[in-house]
């Protein structure tokens, strides 16, 4: 009898439009609270190390804590395949990802050498030509540059151009606020603002660069000059090298070479083109940029030697044979810069 009366009352309440919004309110609040609790538990115990951009934080930490080294190697993810981030025997490998841009490469070098004044003699920068086209307009710019670097702590490093490019991101100001940024970094690692749609592309180029469209982004020009200046001031030799490229990118690089000349960077890029070599397409992953895992693990030394010397004999040292799968790998062609 009591239940029937209660049901009748419920029906009455449900029929009243003014009361309807509050039906299920308790249940909804409980659902959200339980969800938050599970989320925090998962974040604390299960998914604490799945961050997409984990590697850049490791590189920053390394720049802040590493001991003295006479040689520092910086570079993109191709460089990282050759020099995995961490302390090496004779060099410090501050390698990371192209998405961090030349701005962050500069910050990393400055961070380390300002801690170790006078101890660094050489900085070797290894960049795939596409890395030079980064104008803070990449898919992962948010994760690799905005979140780790674009904060007040680093404001002194940023030129007006950096600010203007970053401000093209919607809600940039909001995401830059300490607690929001911290929350995104810690709990929303899947969240991303796609900077490749922000319209920051120089020369109207969009999408992935191709052999014919390899160019120097304005931001790369600015920060390569700054890096050169930083090294000069600290009496450090700066070497710019290009990792062996896929034969897909064989070209005369006329566009970028003109840019280099116009911007007075000819000396810096001397070795970049002089020692540039090309490998068969088969040794590259599907992006035609990174080396196949099996290839780079077993032929790392040969790749490094050839990159540094520009040699096309591959491999040449006895006992350093290529795996059978790649036994026919040969360097197709070398383009020597004028």
């Amino acid at each position: 009898m009591k239940t029937a009366a209660k049901n009748a009352k419920d029906r009455e309440v449900g029929a009243n439009p003014r009361v309807r919004p509050f039906i299920g309110l308790k249940q909804s609040i409980l659902f959200i609270l339980v969800g938050i609790a599970i989320f925090l538990l998962l974040e604390t115990f299960v998914f604490k190390q799945t961050t997409l951009d984990q590697d850049i934080y490791e590189t920053i930490k390394l720049a802040e804590t590493a001991g003295p080294y006479p040689e520092v190697i910086i570079g993109d993810s191709v460089a990282r395949q050759l020099y995995p981030t961490g302390p090496g025997k004779k060099s410090l490998y501050l390698t990371s990802n192209q998405a961090i841009s030349m701005v962050a490469q500069y910050i990393l070098v400055d961070k380390y050498i300002s801690r170790r004044p006078g101890q660094v003699k050489d900085v070797i920068a290894i960049f795939h030509p596409f890395t030079l086209a980064n104008n803070l307009d990449q898919v992962y710019t948010f994760n690799y540059f905005f979140l780790p670097f674009f904060s007040k702590e680093y404001d002194r490093y940023f030129s007006p151009l950096v600010f203007s490019l970053m401000n093209k991101c919607k809600y940039c100001y909001l995401y830059r606020q300490g607690f929001i940024k911290k929350f995104i970094k810690k709990h929303l690692e899947h969240f991303q603002v796609d900077f490749s749609t922000s319209g920051n592309h120089p020369f109207g180029f969009t999408g992935f660069p191709t052999a014919e469209r390899i160019y120097l982004a304005p931001i790369a020009v600015e920060y390569l000059k700054k890096l050169e200046e930083l090294c000069r001031k600290n009496r450090i030799k700066l070497h710019l090298l290009c990792p062996p490229l896929s034969e897909k990118y064989i070209s005369d690089f006329s566009f970028i070479k003109t840019q280099i000349q116009e911007n007075g960077l000819t000396d810096l890029f001397k070795d970049f083109f002089a020692k540039m070599i090309f490998l068969k397409k088969e040794v590259f992953k599907h992006d035609d940029i990174h080396y196949k895992t099996s290839f780079h693990i077993r032929s790392r030394k040969a790749i490094i030697r050839n990159m540094r010397t520009g040699s096309i004999e591959f491999p040449e040292t006895p006992g350093e044979k290529l795996p059978p799968l790649y036994s026919k790998v040969a360097v197709r062609r070398v383009i020597r810069s004028n």
Binding site: P17, R20, P21, I23, G24, S28, F31, V34, G35, I38, F39, L42, F47, T50, L52, V139, K170, H190, F191, Q192, V193, D194, K281, E282, K285, H286, K292, T293, S294
Partner: protein, 506 residues
């Protein structure tokens, strides 16, 4: 602003709150403004297109109703159809025809206005219904504009019929908790399909289809796998979008039409087209196929032409033209046209071999109700659909033909290794090698596999009634467990960046 963007996650809750706080009289205006803002988030100037299509079809519909003269009605209908179709043609197909009949010079390079194919068809549907006197024209221009620009349906449909949606705008609805949570659950399932299944499958599909000539793809199994995954990608992408759209409309108190009904479980291609993109296939049936077929029948007085029944000619004519235009509707590329024609050919072959199939069944004493026979039919239909998807997804006809040519490559060797030599070690090593080169996080592969498994389970439950009803009967802990699992799988294994919906690009 895609449904899977951060902006929408802010925009939509704000719309819900304001919508239910506003008095009923002001709600249509609010939804209309929300729709226009939603549309302008892509390219503000393209709002003019939406307004032009709305104004043209609205005025022509009023004119059709007012004039008693049939010729005038026809003229107004043609005018009303010509304006939206001309805009559609200009923005979607101008470059396609320039490329086809001229050189690459003179291309307009126009950005395709989002959802143009969908709202144009919606407006055409309204106009034709008014002309046929199946629908009274709406005098209230605001309500009609809302019908065209109802934001949950703007990016990619469903292509709603006026008789179903317009009356709902006049009906007052209150916030309903059941409806609200029902809509949210549907949206959640849509997000799961899009972010976990479709976007993760796209990683594998894109690798293969964007580089078909790569030396690594030396075995047909790559192309078969990619085509199979694409079947799931395109289905989960579009049906996921539809679930979000239907869910969003449901939260606001509107019922929208069903767009998918477990299409991959169809036993024939004809059945597939009654279950796949239902709002488009029924649109094509009502406004293209049937009128064309009737026109052929009317104009052919003889019972047989070339010893073939006129009915069959009407079917062939109707289906080929409809599927050709249906293919072209999907995109300005010959690959879509070929896909449409291939689908048309499937339907034609299915239609013309009905009696033959019946005779074979009778001769072999096969009953239609047998489970294995049904399974074979479903498998055959699915395989044919996957084959057609190759044209749909390929970047060019040359790529599609290359894939088809190489489909059987190495399959005999693979078959021998697996079934005759039981050389699973080599197979395993190859799979591992390819997996490493694809560079996909294994957790995402697991999520993709689990996602497809979950999809199968939900479709199975839907076959028995409704997955929602099945969950509702379960105890609270299990129900919430299911919802939390979906939410956290989306959060942790869903695609990390906003990938556009495939159909929103049409």
């Amino acid at each position: 602003m895609n449904f899977n963007s951060f902006e929408f996650l802010v925009f939509f809750p704000v719309v819900i709150i304001l919508y239910f706080l506003l008095p009923f009289k002001a709600r249509w205006a609010f939804l209309l403004i929300a729709g226009y803002l939603f549309y302008m988030s892509w390219k503000p100037a393209y709002l003019l297109l939406l307004l032009a299509v709305t104004a043209a079809t609205y005025l022509c519909a009023i004119g059709i109703e007012k004039t008693p003269v049939k010729r005038k009605k026809q003229a107004l209908l043609i005018l009303g159809l010509a304006i939206p179709l001309a805009l559609l043609f200009f923005f979607k197909y101008a470059d396609f025809f320039i490329r086809t009949f001229s050189s690459r010079q003179g291309l307009l390079n126009l950005v395709l206005p989002i959802g143009i194919s969908f709202f144009t068809f919606k407006a055409i549907s309204y106009l034709v219904e008014v002309y046929r006197e199946a629908q009274k024209p709406t005098r209230h221009i605001g309500i009609y504009a809302l019908y065209v620009s109802f934001f949950p349906q703007l990016p990619a449909g469903p292509i709603e019929r006026p008789g179903h949606l317009i009356p709902q705008f006049y009906r007052e609805s209150h916030f309903d908790y059941e409806r609200f949570t029902g809509g949210l659950k549907l949206m959640l399932w849509g997000y799961f399909k899009k972010l976990v299944i479709a976007d993760n499958a796209a990683v594998i599909v894109d690798r293969v289809f964007n580089d078909v000539h790569h030396a690594d793809f030396n075995n047909g199994i790559f192309f078969i796998t990619a085509a199979g995954f694409y079947a799931f990608q395109v289905y989960c992408d579009f049906s996921g979008y539809t679930d979000m759209a239907v869910g969003a409309a449901k939260i606001l108190g509107f019922d929208t039409m069903k767009n998918f009904d477990r299409p991959y479980l169809s036993k024939t291609l004809t059945e597939f087209w009654t279950r796949w993109h239902i709002s488009l296939s029924s649109w094509l049936r009502d406004y293209l196929f049937l009128p064309i077929s009737y026109a052929i029948l009317r104009r052919t007085p003889k019972e047989k032409v070339l010893k073939v029944k006129t009915e069959t000619w009407a079917y062939i004519g109707g289906i080929i033209i409809t599927m050709f235009l249906g293919g072209l509707w999907h995109g300005a590329n010959w690959t879509f046209v070929l896909w449409g024609l291939l689908m048309g050919m499937y339907l034609f072959v299915g239609f013309s071999t009905r009696k033959l199939k019946k005779r074979i069944r009778k001769a072999l004493s096969i009953k239609k109700s047998w489970q294995w026979y049904r399974a074979l039919q479903v498998f055959t239909t699915f395989s044919l659909v996957c084959f057609a998807w190759i044209f749909f997804r390929a970047n060019s006809i040359a790529d599609a033909l290359y894939i088809i040519k190489n489909l059987p490559t190495g399959l005999g060797d693979l078959f021998q290794k697996v079934f005759l030599s039981f050389d699973f070690k080599t197979i395993g090593a190859n799979i591992r090698h390819i997996y490493l080169e694809f560079n996909i996080d294994y957790l995402h592969v697991i999520a993709l596999a689990l996602g497809i498994g979950a999809l199968g389970w939900v479709e199975f439950l839907q076959g028995k009634g409704s997955a929602g009803a099945w969950i509702k009967k379960k105890p609270l802990v299990l129900r919430w467990g299911i919802y939390y699992t979906l939410i956290f799988i989306i959060l942790y294994f869903g695609f990390r960046r906003t990938a556009p919906f495939i159909y929103a690009q049409f």
